[in-house]
Symmetry: D2
Subunit: 225 residues, 4 copies
């Protein structure tokens, strides 16, 4: 835990956005085991596409990390993203009846493109602290989603939604988020006012995109042109 | 002119998107001199913010250009963006009653953020040909907009809209677009299939964002969270 | 094997540089088991520092790879660089009497800085094919060095030099180089003339740096100022 | 002037390296108007090549600058590098009997490659403060060289060396260096310990490269392989 750290302050500043995430119909209906499966299928395909771009950011974070230990952390997260996490989604997709070739051919919806371009632009142009701040809302909000959603008994009667939720309630996942937060706090403490301000802006923008991502899935968003 | 070149093929492939641009209420109402001024004010402030990010891409294009002459082209476009073009918008803003400090403090709306992150991610990660392909729809569609809009006699009775339109009907502007297109065609001809495919994707995505940008201005888009 | 491919042509063009590598006193004396240990210690410390920068390039290559499978390849090479390969050097350092803290604190000598800045500049500014072409001489020349050096019976009487050499004669290593070369060949075949020319220049420059790196170690190079 | 600022501290830490620059035979002989012209011709060709890479860094600095005013500064420096400064070198080359096509075809010598790869790697991977810190020794040491060299009466009898020296003694040039230093000081004051440490390292490495660059020219350095 890193109570009182920089990440806590970011979390507090973003709290109204995060509250909107937790109360979005997608997550509410999922917790009550009544989210239509086609919306969840849409989400899984988008998340699969998102994960690849998220992994790219980890590659650049590894390249930009100052210390060996931090490089190793990012390298192993990158490796995990492209193996364990991808396989988790592939397993989920299989049980949802999404053919592997469809999953792999998933085209990102507009909000997905916007979110990942934001992450990748930060990755290329920013410091490693900024990259982590931009990536943190995804990691962290999923932990809180898992925590809250799991409190609803209805969820556990749904074989797929409960499986998804379990991932983000696992000790491994919680430890991972703590590790991330610790890195963000450390980078912030080593950074000056201007980098910390950029970290703050990236965290808030990514928090907004987290909300928009769920909304995109709920609406099964398409390009208007 | 570069008839039959790569840029012509991209333009053709994007023609249905571009048609949607030309027929968007924002531009139709502007041509008929009946677009509400508050929508145009919103647009000018967003364009001012966009121009700064567009200029960043030109800086990176200059850094990535292989040849001295191309570097010089981008450097002088960058210089022009930050002087002549900015001043044009500042003059327009003044006549629209937007105080300079408001203009400078303009926060980009969601679509503006998405569009410029796309451009900047391409700028950092791609080749100079890809950067140009991503930037071309903005440059080029404005020329065609100027051409079409100027045919409507109503426009010329509106002191501000006609001034805006004149910029993109000037010989200088048309020559500039021709220069850009020529560069894109040359880069494409020197590139292999995979770079050309990325140039194509960037051009199409930027075309979509051009449409969305006008729509953003018409709706005076705000963040939902 | 990729006979007749792009990498073969690069190898042929660089053959006089590579011949100078194979006949450099450092490698000749090593093969005859008479290289002074202090020169080898210097080399190991420099290689340790080099490996970290090489790993950064792999992180960016993973970020820039178009396809999932190529991303995975780079991610697993990155992971391996920071674990298996680092541990190999740490084991070697231990047997050479270099304290772990000294190994980790190794400052790169001038040639090492020049070589890794070249690799990293290519990594940030170039396409994935260019990155691979810049990295290939290191990978590939070590395989050929292992092959040639191993033919000298004297080597095998030296516990440390023979251990070092064995690494680059292993089936795993040879397969890895084949994989790299295959990637370079594929990228080249998908690229246009200008990218291929840059790949060629990067390969030749890295080949020169490979020679200079051995020479740096032999001279135990220091900064003149 | 920015007495007591971060740049002053860097300058002090690098003072022994800078002293080696001022007393290098290339500059001593130049000040005494007895440097062989072929060494100066070599220098001019290398500087011409260097200037193009330096300009690339300015393009990226413009792209990374936070504020409009700083973007404009870099953009106008970039424009000036590719026009005024290039023309100054072209004029000098003409008087030295270097044909324009030879000047343009100048291949960078090893030290030139190493120096510019360092600058460009910092440009792509670092913050704008780091880029400025890496570029500062070039700008600033030339001012001090001009100051010292101009004190030698012998110099002023040499039409070419005195012309070169005058450039760096002009009010415009001195103001430019002051502007640069002011930017470095401001970036440093806004940055945390880790960025400041990287700024320091880049400044010291670039200072070393400044020395090595003069030495390269004096030796008319070539690639050993």
């Amino acid at each position: 835990m890193s109570a009182g750290g920089f990440s806590d302050r970011l979390r507090e500043e973003a709290s109204s956005i995060w509250e909107r995430i937790f109360t979005h119909p997608f997550l509410v209906e999922m917790g009550e085991a009544r989210l239509p499966l086609d919306k969840f299928r849409f989400y899984v395909r988008q998340d699969y596409s998102y994960l690849m771009e998220f992994a790219r950011c980890l590659g650049i974070a590894a390249a930009k990390a100052e210390e060996r230990e931090t490089m190793r952390t990012f390298a192993s997260l990158l490796e995990a993203s492209l193996t364990v996490e991808v396989e988790m989604l592939e397993g989920l997709a299989e049980r949802l009846g999404i053919p592997p070739e469809d999953l792999r051919a998933s085209e990102p919806a507009p909000t997905n493109v916007a979110y990942t371009c934001h992450l990748l632009y930060v990755a290329y142009s920013g410091t490693v602290g900024e990259i982590m701040a931009a990536m943190l809302p995804c990691m962290w909000s999923y932990q809180e989603i898992g925590e809250r959603m799991g409190e609803d008994a209805a969820l556990w009667r749904h074989p797929i939604y409960s499986e998804w939720c379990s991932t983000y309630r696992s000790k491994e996942y919680i430890d991972l988020v703590d590790l991330y937060r610790g890195l963000v706090d450390r980078f912030a403490s080593e950074s000056g006012a201007s980098v910390r301000e950029r970290m703050r802006r990236h965290f808030l923008l990514s928090s907004r995109y987290e909300y928009l991502f769920w909304d995109m899935a709920y609406r099964k968003e398409t390009w208007p042109v």
